[in-house]
Symmetry: C3
Amino acid sequence: MSNADLQQLLDKQAIEEVLIDYCRCLDEMALDDLAALFTDDCAVSYGPGPALESQGRADLAKSLQRMWRWSRTSHHLANARIWLDGDQARAVSYVEAWHERPDGSSATIWGQYRDRLVRQAGTWLIAERRMEMNGSDAGFTVNIYPLDRRPPPDGWTAPDIDHPPQGEK
Amino acid sequence: MSNADLQQLLDKQAIEEVLIDYCRCLDEMALDDLAALFTDDCAVSYGPGPALESQGRADLAKSLQRMWRWSRTSHHLANARIWLDGDQARAVSYVEAWHERPDGSSATIWGQYRDRLVRQAGTWLIAERRMEMNGSDAGFTVNIYPLDRRPPPDGWTAPDIDHPPQGEK
Amino acid sequence: MSNADLQQLLDKQAIEEVLIDYCRCLDEMALDDLAALFTDDCAVSYGPGPALESQGRADLAKSLQRMWRWSRTSHHLANARIWLDGDQARAVSYVEAWHERPDGSSATIWGQYRDRLVRQAGTWLIAERRMEMNGSDAGFTVNIYPLDRRPPPDGWTAPDIDHPPQGEK
């Protein structure tokens, strides 16, 4: 046990707080506070195409103004996993993001943030963020990157287990 | 690095465990265990009106008996953010709460707990809790406080990105 | 404050990372990596019956091939609560698991993992896992163990609060 052990706990905590603050700022549409969580020259991509990509803090804050087309959002982080390397870090976290339109209809996605962070003047900041998606309900049609998933082996067949056993509910 | 760094990690961990235990106790309807997570003179408000407010542990446990009108619930915490100040702390956490009625219909909300905690005899307890809501599906009609969200600037118009690009799924 | 305080923080962090890695490996169908999170003689049960139980790493990896019958899944952990006892630990965590079928239909469950972990050669591994379920939407029909929930006291009646107050939305 050492100071290094304590330091990595502190670093992971600080990084997890950055990931959380992103969600809170986005749901409150506090876009300047949100942009301050990123490096000045950050590269952020939610999917292919200029509408979903941004370069730098100011561009990111401007691009995320698109979230006002929703009347409400709620971004719930999970599974935050962080790998430290001195003043650099990688993080993968899950997000369930619920969105509501002015007409009351909604869209939910189950996605992931894949981040590179750097420590600048003692503060952890997101330098690169790429969003990928496990899936969504039918209400969501934005073209976010799909997540990689391994295919079944040749000859695999699905077992028959999607119903309750005989005599039980 | 210092003892103070370690202490704040321990305090945040202890507080997060209180927030988690609230969810578990509520889903198991272990209301006495739940009430023991609060101070004796706690003030808890899920929304305006006497049915959603309570004062003190005993009143809280009695008020939360209302949750038995659901046949099942599942409260999933996320985004727990804690600010320490000696023996006081503030916390904001997100919750996705799924509820099922005896008839099989369900209601899901995406909300937030806004808490003030105090350390009493070495144990962190919730002294004040206010629940706010980002939103819900149509099944949920309880009048929980809405969350503040900043409005768009004058002249903002929605970009046209809610459909897949030409030629892609 | 002591080395023991720091050690329990490190142990809880290491265990939470195991719980998270399980979710990521399952969603990516990296079943060999997933099995490596368990002891060689692990006992895993998602519900009654041989299709939902497995003994040992190899059997677990083989059994979880059943997840390929879904085209996509996303397992979001929450409420991880860990109790340490030397080289042993217990953990209870929540999971929201979203599943999508090749036909585009989906199934979501709100469940819990109840685990016993052991430290072997410095690495925390899951020795026993039992899954329980708070509930699911109508799309999910696998027979997972139900979670215990206390019944209301005799004479309890439901309050009338599931509608907005007069004059408010």
